[in-house]
């Protein structure tokens, strides 16, 4: 079963509702929306409904944080470190304690040591293990990503890719911000694709897979470079698996697509929003009225129920009231 991109984009950003309307609606609901992926169909149920489910249903959950841009201080958000701190504080209010955090890149604004230091200090407050991939903002040191690798890349391969297993789920961290080509989008490169093929080989198709990378692994908006040129090759290796969840950042807004058994999802930033693809002069920071900023920043929770394919993703904004535990 397959849906093309337009169908799914229509689902998420219904023209009669619009992005702002959708956010307002979610704000009105007082929670986030919970997306369940089943048989290739994305469906939203209310978070209250989901929380009403028996607690034992979920084997474990993990959290996605993205695009913290520590060091950013421009008009769209004069203090990105402060909103990152708020996002991390949200974690302790979640009804289920996540097993770990994945950070999908753009940890810092300019790859400065001080920014990396501050970012590490801030996320430490969560008291959880953190698995990173770099964004293009984390590759700006003299060594072109060496500063990132020295801190977070121990035991990784190439530009920093790796995989691990957790409670039966296989996690794959891919790097698509290194060695970018003129006129292109994100890029995985031949070495990493070969590694991915080997990494997946021999795994049962029933094993749930979670892939995370900074830039979207599907083409969200090519004119702004929102995609990864050689992602289709990676998806070909993943197509045989019954449950694949692809988590990305980079575009600072929630968007999703389902293709076969692969569910693609991008998370909000904790620093500043960006416009919907093509709706604005550039993908630069979107300046919104101060009172709206928190409703456009957020985190994503992924809940896994062992033996029940779909991984539920819950997007929560910094403006959402604290969830009762």
């Amino acid at each position: 079963m397959s849906h093309d991109q337009d169908d799914n984009r229509t689902d998420l950003g219904r023209p009669d509702l619009g992005r702002r309307g959708l956010l307002k609606c979610m704000g009105w609901a007082g929670t986030g929306a919970l997306w369940t992926m089943s048989g290739g169909v994305g469906a939203a149920i209310s978070l209250d409904q989901a929380l009403g489910a028996p607690a034992k249903a979920a084997s474990f959950s993990f959290l996605q944080i993205s695009d913290s841009h520590v060091g950013f201080n421009k008009p769209a958000n004069p203090d990105a470190a402060a909103t990152y701190r708020e996002a991390v504080a949200k974690i302790s209010t979640l009804p289920q304690k996540p097993d770990f955090i994945i950070h999908t890149g753009d940890i810092t604004q300019l790859s400065k040591d001080q920014e990396f230091d501050d970012a590490e200090q801030i996320i430490k407050a969560a008291g959880l293990p953190v698995f990173y991939v770099p964004g293009e903002h984390d590759m700006l040191d003299e060594g072109g990503g060496k500063a990132y690798l020295d801190r977070f890349g121990k035991g990784t391969k190439g530009a920093g890719w790796y995989s691990f297993d957790h409670k039966g789920v296989h996690f794959v961290a891919l790097i698509n911000v290194a060695n970018l080509k003129p006129g292109g989008m994100g890029s995985l490169g031949g070495d990493q694709l070969e590694w991915l093929e080997r990494d997946l080989k021999g795994r049962p198709s029933s094993q749930p897979i979670v892939v995370f990378a900074h830039m979207p692994l599907w083409t969200v908006y090519a004119d702004w470079g929102w995609g990864t040129d050689d992602a289709p090759q990676a998806m070909a290796y993943l197509a045989r698996f019954g449950s694949v969840t692809v988590l990305n950042g980079h575009i600072h807004q929630v968007t999703q697509k389902v293709e076969g058994n692969i569910a693609f999802h991008t998370a909000r930033s904790t620093a500043f929003p960006q416009p919907v693809g093509g709706q604005g002069p550039s993908p630069g920071p979107l300046k919104v009225p101060t009172e709206q900023l928190h409703s456009m920043l957020g985190i994503t929770t992924a809940s896994i129920t062992r033996g029940h394919g779909p991984i539920a993703l819950t997007d929560q904004t910094l403006a959402d009231p604290t969830l009762a535990s």
């Binding site: 300019l110 293009e136 700006l140 003299e142 003129p182 006129g183 004119d223 550039s282 630069g284």
Partner: protein
């Protein structure tokens, strides 16, 4: 224009009895330097002008006017800037004729070129 301003400034300095004209020269220098070569402005993730034609020996200066950092990387790697934060600049002097395609290493969909003609 600069000469007239500078002459005016000298006259003013003399009238005010300023002894050390070196300070004044230093003050005037940035304006002269900025006018020395063509500039490419980075605005809304676009290099403007996208194509620039210069003669050999010309120094081109890129200025980032976005709230997001960019850099300038030659397609053939013959030049590469460090990352440019808001309002930061990078200059490169072209010493050989040819067509130099370049892109932003962070946002590679941003491309431009400098066409260098023999003087």
């Amino acid at each position: 224009m600069n000469k007239i301003l500078l002459a005016g400034a000298y006259a003013l300095a003399l009238a005010m009895g300023v002894a050390d004209l070196r300070d004044l020269a230093a003050y005037a220098a940035p304006a002269v330097a900025a006018a020395a070569g063509p500039t490419v402005k980075i605005d809304n993730f676009v290099f403007g002008p996208e194509a620039l034609t210069v003669t050999v020996g010309t120094t081109v200066t890129w200025i980032n006017q976005d709230d997001i950092p960019h850099n300038i990387v030659a397609n053939d790697k013959s030049f590469k800037s460090k990352v440019l934060d808001t309002d930061e600049r990078f200059s490169f002097t072209f010493t050989k004729p040819g067509e130099y395609g370049y892109f932003c290493g962070l946002h590679p969909h941003m491309t431009g070129k400098v066409i260098v003609k023999a003087g």
